[in-house]
């Protein structure tokens, strides 16, 4: 669906095959665990069996005495001067120092001649623990009598009380006067909501390989969303210059925010340094669940007030986000996004970041926003019920638009929330009847910032008129294609004439993470700049051949032309001519695309059926709607929308970190954690809305993240309508549904 006059593109908007596709459908593509370096040792991690414990003593002598064992490392090897008291938080999450703060935290690692020996040796590392009481859950962690994780931690922010605490920070977003505004409202709705810690669930476990050469040159192969950030992290953790570190990104088997942080990389580097041999380490699935970074569970109390004509006047929210075992900042974004989709004059949102004895949390697709939307979008639904208004019309009446105060206080530029809502209203899905008992329909909107950040690419002209595109962003879902398409569009050449390659940190300029929905947007801008630079350089070299000046030559629609029209030549033709004259050309595009990249909006319409006897929720129909700005490759835009939707279905209906009383995750396998399968979901219909982003030359908006923001709330609204009971807690498992509908515990 196109909402306004669209520029005519030749390549953008088409659906070509992705350049890396053949390797990925034939098994040739090499992922993290596929890197086999001759002579490599295999490493395994020893992890804490306790949720909270003092590490009294580590004795690796039995392991080191075993045949085939080459080295053991612990936090002492990471600490400056071997002094554990100088171990910074990030290092403690690589290898625990004085305390283990969650079950599954890495404590020691062993390198051996093969994986089997390494696994046996891990069992022979003797660790003496003093088990401490633990705390799980954000509100529990905030209690004054809760076990303290970090003795030195003091709360930052307004209302902070001095003394040991698990509250990392109190963050606040405040506009207007909420108390007065609520008093003036005709209708006020409020409730308390909770969501559980969930995992990104990428199918490829972390894997890393390193060689540390005698001159200190460190080479790391890893499956990562950011080879440059991984290099930076390793430099800091190992106190080693970045000029001596090369990170080679492998193909990446999913990330969703979970493969930004390093886990294995510094450890294999240390082990390689100790042994003088390449060292490789792979996580197994339980390591991934217990030892990497899931996304926080939350507890949110919220209140929304409106006048009887449906104008939302005030929002108050109190949001507690788990950070896991180390201080994080999830609640900062939580407070900013809570009111971001609407024009609400009076807002007060307080966010708490809380440390608990769970894995250090990491980003997961629009981090912190789905939980915030789970609360706010349900209150809006409740408001619509009370006002007897259509929930989409109520949203449309209050939707943020160009000029509305955005999440950081600045007015929005052109955004597409209203257009998404209108597309939902117009959809065949929304206009069709539900047809059947025990069914409900829910809708919800979602906002995500999207970011720009730094990107660099090199483009080199080949004698046959094709171009090589060298970039530093790992391709997690089709960005070789979306970047090559933007370069082809810029140069006016066919997509097939652009050959994109993702390279290591020595071979291209600095490029930030493949995250924040930024690659097609920000690296796309670098590609566009490089394309323009190439045209400029070709023009300069063409001018003497045409016996004119560069100023007299224009480039349009894939061809160079003199302004008088006397001479012209297509890109390919000119490339061949220049090559024939001995011209070699490589240009770059290197830029910072800014922090904010123009907001992204998504919407979901969901139909469910709830089995009154078993409590099972079936998703009958799902329509995902999203503003893509300009959809570069519509198939991969749809793919992002569909993937986000189904991750949201899992989060809404059954995914959770399920803890037993000892603080052990009791479902740390795919069997027990249970991601949605193909049987659990219908086809996911998509409506791509295109409201061009004024910040990007082709109007592109990031599309990776917004799609996961609406589903938790949309499904909860649907289940609420099907059952008549407001669903305030995730997951809406059969057990939970029976609890809320029939009081069965």
């Amino acid at each position: 669906m196109v909402t306004e006059a669209k520029r005519a593109y030749k390549v953008i908007g088409t659906r070509p095959l992705r350049p890396d596709g053949i390797d990925k459908v034939t098994g040739r593509a090499l992922y993290g665990a596929d890197i086999h370096i001759p002579g490599a040792l295999h490493a395994r991690m020893k992890r804490s069996p306790h949720a909270h414990a003092v590490i009294k003593r580590i004795d690796a002598s039995r392991a080191l005495a075993m045949d085939g064992v080459k080295a053991v490392v612990t936090a002492v090897d990471l600490a400056p001067g071997g002094d554990l008291s100088k171990l910074a938080d990030p290092a403690q999450n690589i290898l625990a120092g004085h305390k283990a703060l969650y079950r599954g935290q890495a404590v020691a690692a062993v390198a051996a001649i093969n994986d089997q020996v390494a696994q046996e040796a891990v069992k022979l590392i003797d660790i003496e623990y003093e088990v401490l009481p633990h705390v799980l859950g954000p509100r529990e962690g905030m209690q004054s009598d809760a076990p303290i994780l970090h003795e030195a931690l003091r709360t930052r922010g307004p209302g902070a009380v001095d003394g040991p605490t698990n509250i990392v920070a109190i963050n606040q977003a405040a506009f207007g006067d909420v108390d007065k505004a609520f008093a003036d409202c005709d209708i006020v709705v409020d409730d308390e909501f909770s969501t559980k810690m969930v995992h990104q669930g990428y199918i490829e476990p972390q894997a890393a390989t390193a060689t540390w050469a005698p001159d200190g040159q460190l080479t790391i192969w890893t499956t990562t969303q950011g080879s440059f950030p991984a290099r930076e992290s390793c430099a800091q953790l190992l106190n080693h210059p970045i000029s001596k570190i090369k990170v080679i990104p492998t193909e990446i088997g999913g990330g969703f925010g979970g493969k930004i942080s390093v886990y294995l990389e510094p450890v294999v580097a240390l082990l390689s340094r100790k042994t003088g041999k390449p060292v490789t380490m792979r996580m197994d699935r339980s390591d991934v669940f217990e030892g990497t970074g899931p996304t926080p569970g939350t507890s949110i109390k919220a209140r929304l007030g409106a006048t009887k004509d449906g104008r939302i006047r005030a929002l108050y929210a109190d949001m507690a986000y788990e950070n896991g075992a180390f201080p994080g900042s999830a609640s900062i974004t939580g407070t900013m996004v809570a009111a971001a989709a609407y024009d609400i004059e009076h807002v007060k949102v307080i966010g708490y970041d809380v440390v608990v004895n769970k894995p250090r949390t990491q980003d997961y697709r629009a981090p912190s926003a789905p939980a915030a939307a789970f609360a706010i979008e349900q209150l809006i639904d409740e408001l619509a019920l009370k006002l007897e208004m259509d929930p989409l019309q109520l949203r449309l009446l209050n939707a943020a638009k160009e000029g509305t105060r955005g999440p950081m206080g600045m007015p929005y530029k052109r955004i597409g929330h209203e257009e998404c809502l209108r597309a939902a209203l117009d959809s065949e899905h929304y206009r069709s009847p539900l047809g059947g008992p025990n069914r409900g329909r829910g809708v919800a909107s979602g906002f995500w910032f999207n970011v720009g950040l730094r990107s660099s690419v090199n483009v080199s002209l080949q004698p046959d008129g094709t171009v090589n595109l060298i970039e530093g962003n790992t391709d997690i879902g089709g960005t070789r294609a979306s970047l090559a398409m933007q370069l082809a569009e810029t140069l006016g050449i066919p997509y097939e004439d652009v050959k994109p390659t993702v390279v290591d940190t020595d071979s291209v300029g600095l490029s930030d993470v493949t995250a924040g929905s930024r690659t097609t947007f920000g690296t796309g801008m670098a590609v566009h700049e490089a394309g323009k630079n190439l045209i400029k350089e070709m023009t300069a070299r063409l001018a003497p051949l045409w016996q004119t000046t560069p100023e007299e030559i224009g480039f349009d629609d894939g061809a160079f032309r003199t302004k008088d029209g006397a001479k012209s030549g297509a890109f390919k033709e000119i490339a061949a001519q220049l090559a024939g004259r001995g011209v070699a050309l490589t240009v770059s595009g290197s830029l910072n695309a800014g922090f904010l990249a123009g907001g992204g909006f998504a919407h979901a319409v969901v139909d469910v059926e709830v089995d009154p006897d078993t409590g099972k929720v079936t998703i009958l129909r799902y329509t995902a709607i999203q503003d893509a700005g300009t959809a570069v490759h519509p198939s991969y835009v749809e793919g992002q929308m569909q993937g986000g939707a189904v991750q949201g279905v899992g989060w809404a209906l059954n995914e959770e970190y399920y803890y037993d009383e000892s603080g052990r995750m009791a479902n740390a396998s795919f069997l027990d954690y249970r991601l949605p399968t193909s049987l659990d979901v219908p086809m996911i219909d998509t409506i791509i809305v295109e409201v061009p982003n004024p910040l990007h030359p082709f109007g592109v908006r990031g599309v990776g993240e917004p799609g996961i923001v609406p589903p938790l709330a949309a499904i909860a609204n649907a289940v609420t309508h099907a059952t008549g009971v407001r669903q305030t807690q995730l997951p809406m498992s059969p057990r939970r549904i029976l609890e809320t509908t029939r009081g069965i515990v």
Binding site: D20, G21, V25, Y31, I203, G254, Q647, S669, S678, M683
Partner: protein, 163 residues
């Protein structure tokens, strides 16, 4: 460490001999001994299907089969699905329908779908979803994968595969 067993098997139509320890899974043998890394490890306990191979006509998780059990068996892995430069219809439709994003689950899905379509060329959406429920994908939401399998089935019915 136990002694190694000599195993003779046929992989993708070629006779292959290997030595393996009794504890080693077929997936370990494929990946670590034979350097056939197309079969992926996502869970190592039969829950994700990323290591699916076809063994004597049956779809199996290579992580749940012992290497020694492959003795005398005929195995098809992702590396053997294409016929030289000629892609299998499933590989073609997975590409054309954008049925992969990160691609780590793709080999397992293609092998699993091949095992289905080899015996049920008329499989419909419900059957395909049921059959593929042993394969996890976290990127696509399955929509485009199911479409790709339906499209491949239609292609295969048009042009019957040569024996």
């Amino acid at each position: 460490m136990s002694g190694r067993t000599h195993v003779t098997t046929t992989i993708n139509g070629e006779r292959i001999d290997f030595l393996c320890e009794p504890r080693q899974s077929l997936l370990e043998v494929l990946r670590d001994e034979l350097d056939m890394t197309g079969s992926k490890e996502g869970c190592n306990n039969g829950n994700c299907g990323a290591c699916n191979v076809i063994m004597d006509g049956s779809l199996v998780n290579a992580c749940c089969v012992l290497g020694v059990e492959a003795d005398g068996a005929a195995i098809t892995t992702i590396e053997g699905v294409a016929n030289g430069e000629q892609l299998h219809p499933l590989q073609k439709t997975f590409l054309e329908d954008a049925a992969l994003q990160c691609g780590i689950c793709t080999p397992g899905f293609i092998v699993a779908a091949k095992a289905l379509l080899d015996r049920e060329p008329d499989a419909d959406e419900a059957r395909i979803r049921h059959w593929l429920a042993g394969n996890l994908c976290r990127c696509t939401g399955y929509d485009k994968i199911v479409h790709a399998v339906l499209d491949a089935a239609a292609l295969m019915r048009q042009v019957p595969a040569k024996a």
